[in-house]
């Protein structure tokens, strides 16, 4: 094992940026007490506990990396990992890791659950510094516990149709995204941040959208589209979405995919966001 950990971290948020994180509408119900209780249990947890992370609720890059290394090894340790995971497992084992770490705001209804607080995630683009190749897109919960991850296409998968789509789904820097929007749509955005949420299509935690504000509207830029919504946009309550399955299907069918996205905003509403046409 190499003695040094090569961790090149591009930390794309600062303390000020965290303070500016935003959501159009906060959760309907506060679970603050439950969140505090979970945090207390986590901070008191010992390594044999299922909710143990070496740096609970990490803030610094080194703490996030420590939780990633611990969490991944805890889940996969001692197992024969599958072929697609071998480069990741090897890089972890060799300490040949480089990271790009992003903070992704969580607008899914899971933001509003009791237990583990999930206002945001950490998305780690993990690269093997000895080869320069990406080995994983890895998501940690705000708590530092492992959420989910992907591995890139293997050599055998490299020629499959999905491989270039996956590889291209790397989020741009926030400033670059705003610049693209300005050029393509003529819209000047403020307060950009990465956002994951459910809907059709979804802003995935491993390929989040860039959310920003402009002229009283909220915009989401992702999957090659720009969509907008505001407080007056057509929307549905979670109660409606949950009332019956048939009602949920009706709502989903009422969305015109050529012109609209259905987007979850925490547990408060499912809003129909309209696609913005690029300027000619």
């Amino acid at each position: 094992m190499k003695s040094t950990l090569l961790a090149t971290v591009v930390l794309l948020w600062a303390v000020g940026a965290i303070a500016q994180a935003w959501i159009p509408q906060e959760c309907a119900e506060s679970h603050e007490q439950s969140h505090r209780e979970f945090e207390r249990l986590m901070r008191e947890a010992r390594p044999d506990s299922p909710i143990y992370a070496p740096k609970p609720f990490p803030r610094k890059e080194a703490e996030i990396i420590e939780d990633f290394r611990y969490g991944y090894r805890k889940i996969t340790g001692g197992k024969q990992v599958s072929v697609d995971q071998m480069p990741l497992a090897q890089a972890v084992e060799d300490n040949s890791l480089a990271f790009r770490i992003l903070r992704v705001e969580n607008w899914t209804p899971n933001r509003c659950r009791p237990g583990q607080q999930m206002d945001f995630y950490f998305l780690l683009y993990v690269t093997d510094s000895s080869t320069g190749r990406e080995v994983s897109r890895f998501v940690l919960n705000q708590s530092g516990l492992v959420a989910e991850w992907t591995t890139p296409p293997t050599k055998e998968q490299e020629n499959e149709a999905w491989a270039p789509i996956y590889r291209s789904a790397v989020v741009p820097k926030l400033a670059d995204a705003l610049q693209v929007v300005q050029t393509r749509y003529g819209i000047t955005g403020t307060r950009p941040q990465y956002v994951a949420t459910w809907g059709n299509p979804e802003c995935a935690t491993v390929a989040p959208c860039v959310a920003f504000q402009s002229q009283g509207k909220v915009f989401l830029f992702g999957r090659g589209d720009l969509v907008e919504f505001s407080a007056t946009s057509r929307s549905y309550t979670p109660a409606e979405m949950n009332a019956t399955r048939s009602r949920r299907f009706e709502i989903a069918k009422s969305v015109n995919p050529q012109q609209e996205w259905l987007v979850a905003v925490a547990d408060t509403r499912w809003v129909v966001a309209k696609k913005v046409k690029p300027r000619k």
């Binding site: 889940i75 009791p114 296409p153 996956y166």
Partner: protein, 219 residues
């Protein structure tokens, strides 16, 4: 196709034998389902059914064929999905397994039982998306199995063929507290004795949240 079943059955027996023998080594079981990305934004279900079909050794059909067979709209209902599995794959006993956050453990136990027998399941996640479960891994702690991760093929190419959920995160994706419905399509034959796994399955031990208890588990 019967041969495939027999081979799978043999694999499951070997796996079961290992477990019965009290093997304490971590287990990692992947089905190796062929992956296909969805070809249209609302083709996640046809892509999942197609993957199941290819796993069963049948020749490919277009995702549009499956899409049209299910009614030609996205957001199809779960009965149609189960029917499509029964029509387009070698599985004839797929059914819509409907649950809620109070029965998520039973649902997860049926998924695991299907894993053990190397039979896929299609699971609705994040309200209206589906993935096909490609396997999982677990360890013993000390006398029962604790699931560590779930492998899935996500038809959305942004996730791709190699999507992994920690066990806790999996529950939050397919059956979080507060959801009224949780849905999956599974084979009844592959899960007929799922209740044996129910008693040994405790996903929430991983990440300390139990829907049924309504709070964090004490440690």
């Amino acid at each position: 196709m019967r041969r495939t079943w027999i081979l799978r059955g043999a694999g499951a027996l070997l796996l079961a034998a290992g477990l019965v023998a009290g093997s304490c080594i971590p287990q990692d079981h992947k089905l190796n389902i062929p992956y296909r990305a969805q070809e249209q934004f609302n083709y996640c279900t046809p892509a999942a059914v197609l993957m199941w079909r290819l796993y069963d050794g049948l020749v490919t059909v277009s995702q549009t064929t499956i899409f049209n067979w299910m009614g030609g709209t996205g957001n199809t209902n779960q009965i149609n999905v189960a029917n499509a599995v029964n029509y387009f794959t070698n599985t004839r006993d797929a059914y819509w397994d409907s649950g809620s956050p109070t029965t998520y453990r039973q649902m997860a136990a049926r998924q695991i039982t299907a894993f053990d027998r190397s039979i896929p399941s299609i699971v609705v996640i994040n309200y209206d998306h589906v993935v096909i479960v490609n396997g999982g891994s677990w360890h013993t702690d000390p006398n029962y199995r604790v699931w560590d991760e779930v492998f899935a093929h996500d038809p959305d190419p942004f996730w791709g063929a190699n999507r992994y959920f920690s066990a806790g995160s999996w529950i939050y994706s397919f059956c979080p507290p507060g959801n009224r419905y949780c849905d999956q399509i599974i084979s009844s034959g592959a899960t007929y004795d799922w209740s044996t796994n129910y008693t040994t399955y405790n996903d929430t031990k991983i990440y300390g949240w139990d829907h049924d208890l309504g709070g964090p588990l004490p440690y």
